[in-house]
């Protein structure tokens, strides 16, 4: 049995330069906000970027990037809609608030359907917002796109979250996936580590320490959150700079 979707996926990702998976050990650490913010800032700097929301159960992509026109299909599949300069896709655009209960087999099928049905075109960066933990989404993406994949992890500085992220780092290094580093989020709400302390503990690069800015809750899209909260944007600009440094 041959699955022609695998061939389609190879072709559709031909012109994608780099894929960055944004993962976390625990949920609720701000991974979607951070990964969408990085997508927006990269795009504002002139990079061609797609934000792919693979957090099917906790999908937030359709809130962070809103689209106002009908999604279009073409001979190559679905044309990625563009929101605030970023090409985006999220199951939330099709399912609204409907729950999406997926068993293992269904999820794998969805990943194959999704990546084989989208016309990604040329991209400098594909930013993938993963669900928390080590589920099918991380193994699927790293197996399918191995050579192009890097990982950035998001955590808060709570003991529980750091312990789980350490476990994730073990998996990433055992699989020889390129780990860009860790972004420590909401640093003002949890234990106040020094950067060097975290670097020693996690044995990897710290891409940034980001504070929790309650005012971002007043805005819906990631563009609005960033443009109305300059201190938040500045911290994320620094993270983007550190990420780009990894590719130079």
């Amino acid at each position: 049995m041959i699955d022609p979707r695998l061939k389609l996926i190879d072709k559709k990702l031909e012109k994608v330069e780099s894929i960055i998976l944004f993962g976390s050990g625990k949920g609720g650490v701000g991974k979607s906000i951070i990964s969408s913010a990085i997508s927006y800032i990269l795009s504002s700097r002139g990079e061609s970027v797609a934000y792919i929301d693979l957090d099917f159960y906790g999908s937030a992509g359709s809130n962070l990037f809103t689209i106002n026109s009908q999604i279009r299909g073409c001979r190559g599949g679905i044309e990625l809609p563009v929101s605030d300069g970023v090409k985006v896709i999220s199951t939330g655009y099709f399912l609204s608030d409907n729950p999406f209960p997926l068993m293992g087999k269904d999820k794998l099928d969805l990943l194959l359907d999704l990546f084989s049905a989208i016309d990604f075109g040329s991209l400098d960066f594909m930013i993938i917002d993963l669900p928390p933990g080590m589920g099918d989404e991380i193994t699927f993406t790293q197996r399918m796109f191995k050579d192009k994949v890097s990982v950035a992890l998001v955590t808060v500085s709570s003991e529980m979250s750091l312990t789980v992220v350490e476990r994730l780092i073990k998996y990433i290094s055992a699989e020889r996936i390129n780990l860009l580093g860790v972004i420590v989020n909401m640093v003002n709400l949890f234990r106040n580590y020094r950067l060097e302390e975290l670097k020693d503990r996690l044995q990897t690069r710290i891409l940034g320490m980001v504070s929790y800015h309650p005012e971002i809750e007043l805005f819906r899209t990631i563009k609005e959150k960033l443009e109305n909260t300059p201190s938040f944007k500045n911290e994320l600009e620094e993270v983007v700079e550190n990420i780009l440094e990894c590719f130079r």
């Binding site: 049995m1 099709f94 969805l110």
Partner: protein, 144 residues
Amino acid sequence: MHEWSIAESIIEAVIQSVKYQKILEVEIKIGELRDLDIEILRESLKILSSETILRDTKFDIIVSKAVFKCFDCGEEWGMREALKIMENMLTVDKYVLEENELEPPIHFIPSLVIGLQRCPKCGGMDINIESGRELEISKVKVEE
């Protein structure tokens, strides 16, 4: 016209799967849930293979019926009922615009159907797709 890119990938995958043998017949299983136009797929296979080593190959397309089953009450239903349920849950802005026609998103991403079904008998959401999701090259017959 998503069928064209599927046909293209089938042809490439078949060519890569054999070495030097002549390919006589290719069997393709397509689930009803894929919502593909089988005539367009057949036509695209014919046109796209005409310039390849598959120009004389016979393509057999087998379509399997979609069957949904509710884990809560055991109710089973087919594609026609599933489309009705989906239409009731989808607003127009959730459709995909393709060549001036609105296609349901499952035409491109069939697995989305799981989030667009409720059991027609009990309203449950614990639903299994028993059959009808296939997209596979199930047999490649080569000359001995």
